[in-house]
């Protein structure tokens, strides 16, 4: 087992990608993802990583190159953020439909306008329905660990779907944290060489991406959806195997101090660490508050989630993205829908917070939990409300 060494999370991610023995990287630099791809290009240029680094003129080209690369059976990585992810949009849907397991780290950042380089989840929530496996990291160690897991799951022959690891821009990407990088031998044990079910090979020709006429399109999408749902078991199993090899345990839904909780905060990503402090403080004050964190966002861990929130009176969902004119933030509407059929479900209240790099402090979380207590007795007037707006 490696030593815990203070490293910038982006650099650690690049080192982890190297340990995954990636064959091809195609990426375009964009804040706050830059350090990841910058370090990877350094590793390739210095001969420390035997891979092709394809410099491209845009993110649209980056992801297109990645699809072509992985289609030939090469292990492929890319990374982006915000406008770059948006520019990839039309290609992103193609990867899962063609079962091309690219792995991408998204350093989550707000979308323009106004121009913002700072962190929220607006970029990835606009890509909610692309059909990629999506996880959210809470801290640097988890970000790194999720990269190994992403390759392991995506390339599994039972899965063969692309995967995104979401890390909060700056608050994770640029943070220096003590991170334990495993030994190469451990990574090799966990991640076997990429052997796809099919690949582009002139000796055995096949066509990827033909037209789907109305007489086949629905059946093709049904087949994709069923295969994606089946990926869930492999995602869990790969985390079990991760624990065996690396010693750290991950589950699709994390809970914190949920024993006898009546109110819980639900959040994805690094803000959960601040929320844990808020939960501790409220517990000390005698309030029965807990925390639920979704690590796996797609496929949505429905059963594990429902189990995690059982017995709650109010669930306060914190969204880091705005869905203008909707009935809530993307996570809020998802969770309300997930719980609608559950007897004795908690009341779901939805807060939008931490947009475009706005701090969400322990006090903000306490305020949200306090409001959740108010809403235990009184229905909220609006389906969602924004927190931390100056009137």
């Amino acid at each position: 087992m490696g030593k815990r060494i203070a490293k910038e999370v982006s650099i650690a991610i690049a080192e982890a990608v190297k340990q995954c023995r990636v064959d091809v990287i195609a990426a375009y630099p964009i804040t706050p993802q830059t350090h990841i791809v910058e370090h990877l290009s350094e590793l390739v240029a210095n001969g420390e990583l035997d891979a092709e680094y394809i410099t491209v003129e845009s993110e649209h080209s980056a992801i297109s190159a990645c699809l072509g690369s992985v289609a030939t059976g090469a292990r492929t990585f890319t990374s982006t953020a915000s406008q770059g992810l948006a520019l990839m949009h039309e290609i992103l849907f193609i990867a899962p439909a063609l079962r091309l397991p690219v792995v991408m780290v998204v350093a989550n950042r707000a979308l323009s306008a106004p121009i913002s380089i700072w962190n929220d989840h607006g970029d990835i929530m606009a890509e909610r329905d692309i059909g990629w496996i999506q996880t959210f990291a809470e801290n640097g160690q988890e970000a790194v660990d999720l990269v190994y897991h992403a390759f392991r799951v995506a390339e599994d022959r039972r899965v063969m779907f692309p995967a995104i690891v979401n890390i909060d821009g700056f608050t994770l990407s640029h943070m220096i944290e003590p991170i334990e990088l495993p030994d190469q031998e451990q990574v090799d044990r966990y991640l076997p060489p990429f052997r796809p079910r099919y690949k582009l090979d002139p000796r055995k020709p096949l066509s990827m991406g033909p037209v789907g006429i109305p007489e086949i399109y629905t059946e093709a999408k049904k087949a994709q959806d069923e295969a994606f749902k089946n990926a869930y078991k492999v995602i869990l199993k790969a985390w079990d195997e991760f624990e065996e090899v690396f010693g750290r345990r991950y589950r699709p839904v994390e809970t914190y101090r949920m024993e006898d909780a009546e109110v819980a905060l639900l959040i994805m990503g690094s803000l959960a660490e601040t929320a844990m402090t808020a939960v501790d403080r409220m517990r000390e004050a005698g309030k029965r508050v807990g925390l639920v964190r979704l690590r796996l966002w797609r496929p949505f861990p429905l059963r594990d989630f429902v189990k995690a929130v059982k017995g709650l009176k109010v669930l306060a969902v914190i969204d880091r993205a705005l869905s203008p004119g909707a009935t809530g933030g993307p996570v809020g509407t998802e969770v309300r829908s997930a719980l609608y059929q559950v007897p004795g479900r908690p009341r779901v209240v939805n807060f939008i917070a931490g947009l475009g790099g706005r701090d969400v402090t322990v006090e903000d979380f306490e305020e949200m939990a306090d409001r959740a207590y108010v809403y235990m007795k009184k229905k909220p007037k609006e389906p969602y409300e924004m927190i931390g707006v100056k009137e």
Binding site: L98, P205, S207, M208, P210, P214, E219, A220, K222, A223
Partner: protein, 99 residues
């Protein structure tokens, strides 16, 4: 009217992995000629057998016959008219398909 699913070609369980085409060259089995509203007609008097139609046809429908003339296979010709447009002798005319 039948239900929508009655028009489906195969069950979703039979869709090949990634909806790939695993049998190369099977587009031969896709008869695209019935899309056509104009058909190319060759005037052999004017034709100099230069093969421009053969080169430019996007569907590779032209093949040379024993006499050396290039003839379009109407099973696949979509009637795009590129052959008529590139013919240096004006030997190909696009004629409206009668229904």
């Amino acid at each position: 009217m039948p239900k929508g699913k009655d028009t489906a070609l195969i069950s979703w369980k039979e869709v090949p992995f990634g909806c790939y085409i695993l049998e190369p060259g099977n587009s031969v089995g896709f008869k695209t000629g019935d899309w056509r509203s104009f058909r190319p007609v060759l005037d052999k008097e004017k034709c100099v057998k230069c093969g421009q139609c053969y080169i430019m046809c996007p569907d590779m429908t032209y093949t040379q016959d024993e006499e050396g003339y290039y003839i379009a296979d109407l099973t696949y010709c979509k009637g795009c008219g590129i052959c008529a447009s590139v013919c240096p002798k004006g030997a190909i005319t696009m004629v409206v398909e009668e229904v």
